[in-house]
């Protein structure tokens, strides 16, 4: 049609050439950079830069570091990227004494493991060793402790699991400052009340109460003892309705009279 659209082939060829060159250059740069990136990834993965250098543990009081390391199955030198933190958490949580765990990666080479242990709310005496009782009511049968048992009361004569369960629930609810006052708790069921317990307190009083609403009634313990004269020791009976204190002397006379009558 018009002359404008007619361009001679000589005019077009050099431009085409130029264009093609540009394209080839760009492609080369792209492939080269891809190649180098892959190489550097391989180098990084092979070098110690990608290896775990340190594992930080926190929150474990009763469980040793080794045990957790063993459970986590992570060792120094492992590949940082190969650690699947969900998997590790699942493995660690299988430990009966661990309540929760959080595994976090800290780039480039650190793994943080924060565990939360179940509180030990007591120690149950079985045969000649002490088994820790956890706040969830479980008794640890696997690792009896020999010595470090001053941090929770001793539970004695709890022959039926049910009552031990109830007891541990109540103990978990009681504030720590009051749990610290209890030395020993003995299950002492009577015919009328299978929930009856007897306690020896660190401050020398003997307490009789029941497992039911234990956590509520025992909260009043400090205010009860505050009213007593510290020199006179005896048995405090605490119930939901109030507390009664019987000094030992009078109880001795009472009991003597009773035994005298029965014999």
């Amino acid at each position: 049609m018009s002359e404008k659209n007619v361009v001679s082939i000589e005019d077009r060829i050099p431009k085409l050439k130029q264009e093609r060159k540009k394209k080839t250059n760009r492609r080369l740069i792209f492939y080269l950079s891809l190649f180098f990136i892959l190489i550097s990834i391989v180098v990084y993965l092979q070098s110690p830069l990608s290896h775990i250098q340190s594992i930080n543990l926190s929150g474990n009081n009763h469980i040793s570091d080794e045990q957790i390391h063993h459970l986590s199955d992570i060792t120094k030198g492992d590949n940082f990227w190969r650690v699947n933190h969900e998997e590790v958490e699942e493995q660690i949580v299988t430990h009966p004494e661990i309540k929760a765990v959080q595994v976090a990666k800290q780039f480039p080479t650190t793994i943080d493991i924060a565990v939360e242990e179940f509180d030990r709310i007591g120690y149950v005496k079985e045969e000649d060793h002490y088994l820790p009782l956890l706040e969830n009511g479980k008794r640890l049968t696997t690792n009896p402790v020999e010595n470090s048992i001053g941090d929770a009361p001793l539970l004695l004569s709890f022959e039926q699991q049910l009552y031990l369960q109830e007891m541990s629930k109540e103990l978990a609810k009681l504030p720590n400052s009051i749990v610290d006052l209890i030395s020993e708790i003995r299950w002492n069921p009577t015919e009328g009340n299978p929930y009856q317990i007897e306690m020896y307190m660190n401050d020398g009083y003997q307490v009789e109460t029941t497992i039911r609403s234990f956590s509520e009634t025992m909260k009043t313990y400090p205010s009860i003892t505050a009213q007593l004269e510290p020199e006179i020791k005896g048995v405090i009976k605490i119930g939901t309705s109030g507390a009664v204190f019987n000094p030992y002397e009078s109880e001795i006379t009472n009991q003597v009279e009773e035994t005298g009558e029965s014999s």
């Binding site: 010595n147 001053g150 009361p153 001793l154 004695l156 660190n202 909260k219 400090p222």
Partner: protein, 728 residues
Amino acid sequence: MRKNKATQIMSIVLMLSFVAIFLILSGRFLYIQTTGEVAGVSLQEWADKTRTNQYSLPAERGRILDRNEMSLVQDRPTYKVYAIVDETHTGINKEPLYVQDARQTAEELAPLLEMEPSDVLETIDKGKSEGRFQVEFGSDGKNLTQDIKEQIEELELPGINFEKDIQRYYPNGMFASHVLGLVDKLDGEQVGLTGVEQMMNDVLAGESGHISYKRDKYNAKLLQPEEIVKEAKDGNDVYLTIDQKIQTLLEDAMSEVNEQYEPERITAAVMDPKTGEVLAMSSRPSYDPNQLGTVENWYNDVISTPFEPGSTMKIFTLAAAIEEGEYNPTEYFQSGKYQISEGAAIHDWDNKGWGSITFREGIQRSSNVAAALLAYDKVGPEKFYEYLQAFEFDQPTGIDLPGEDIGKIMYNYKSEKITTSYGQGTTVTPIQQMKALTAVANNGEMLQPYVIKAIKDPNTDQVVEEKSPNVVGNPISAETAKKVRDELGTVVSSENGTGRNYKLDDYSVAGKTGTAQIPDRENPQPYMTGHGNYEYSFLGMAPKDDPQLMMYVSVKRPELSVHEVGSEPVSFIFKNVMGNSLHYLNINPDMEAQQTINTYEMPEILDKSVTDVKTELEDKGLRVTVIGNGDQLQGANVKAGEELLPNERIFLLTANPVMPDLSGWSVRDVLKFSETIDLDISVHGSGYAVSQSISQGKNIQKQDKLTVEFTSPNAELEEEDPPEQEME
């Protein structure tokens, strides 16, 4: 010819009669056309009516909700069941639409209607024999719930049909019944009769609409139906200040007291003193609005029944005296008797009195003489009357509920002026006392009580109207209010206080008890006598220093056994509702502070002087054992910052540890001790230590072997049960 003539006449007659008939008919047509009326009926209107379908569109009545949007009253569909017994009633394909097998229908239907199958059968058979089209089943077949209706439908009984109706439904049953009120059906429309239903009837009812369109003979719409739709405007929802949880607590406590003591009347209300919002209000006798049987009492006693309140009134006497500067809590007066005039005297409830006591004790013991002295001799009767007016005992509270009544201040004679000071003679309603008490609870500002919090459009959820607290007076100063609360606090906390029974475990209470004498209508003796023949009440608030809730409870003539005191049912309701409500509202307990006051934080001790730390800790009531004889501390069994309670045993470690005397120590203390030193311990027995294998004063080192024997403090007496616990 003759014949011709006759023919002619006949044809004229015939023609005339035709003309006449024609004129009559055309005249009638003309008349109808011009007037458009036949026998006084406008044809235009009649035509429109016959070819127009018109229905009314009823508006849905609004709900009543509590402050947390829990529904308290709502509409609910109910169903009436009926059975078609006409055997000609069939469907298009001749399938039966009537009861075919009467016996089977009766047997399947009866249990769902809670009827006897024989009765159902009888009803159906009777309908059949009388040739009726359908039968109904009386009250048992009415007011069926959606659930029952669906169950019946599942039986697929032919001829059993339902008619839908709308009923007001109260999901909580007997629950603030007098506050919520009732509705009645008038011309198919629900109209509020009492309570909020009546008060807010216009808001709740909404406007019903209608729809109309032109139709043909077969009820199909015409091509130009000229449809007119006026949509119904549903009623708005009314939100109350009532809190469903607190109201439920109150209802439960009242029902329990009602059952146990069978009193003549109980009234109670809970209010937020900072806003005047009523959180709960109820009275007994009450009723379940879903099942109206015989209703003993239609009155909302809290607002409509004035009576002589008794000693709760002394709160305001006290407030007036403090405001006037006439109250000296440590001043003494002679209790027991107050001489009004020669030959007339009033007495304390304990006629002997308590000798010469202070005014504070007088208030604690609820002395009438103290109140009389304060009101009449100190403040003065005129001034005191001004205070009664300032507390607005002479006017209604203006609460937004229908049927409020007010009492009467009896103030003509000297004796009346005196008895008013302790709440006899003069009558007031509970809500008047609550309103006056807001001034005490809310630092002098008296608030109007109210029940309706907001009105919302249920479709758009927009607030149409909202109420806010309304300060209606300032009878006393903030300072006086605080002093009154402190004095009232001692009524509850003091050994002598008449309010001893109203103590809460976790919160401090300020309040005043009342034991009002009840006028006896039949007896010439002005007041009833005898155990339980009083109206026992309590007006109080908690926590004392910053009241979050206030409450009034009164129980009239409970049936008490000889050893029960009248305050027992009242305090049961008060403690239950107040304590639980405060906890529910997450109010910080102010009483526990006294218990934890004793705890003590372990200080930093490292490298400090042994004697300094020891005396410091012993001052706090701790039992300190120093292990070793060094001067500088090297550690302890407790970390710094840990909480300690008195009587706990603390070990302070110094250089050169030596064995302490363990006798009397508990097992756990000994274990702690051995852990602190790291000894190899073995425990024998349980209870408290009696002997130790390493004697006192010997040097000890890590891993030394220590055996300690323990025994129960009364072991000698428990020989059959020797606590043999051994561990190696």
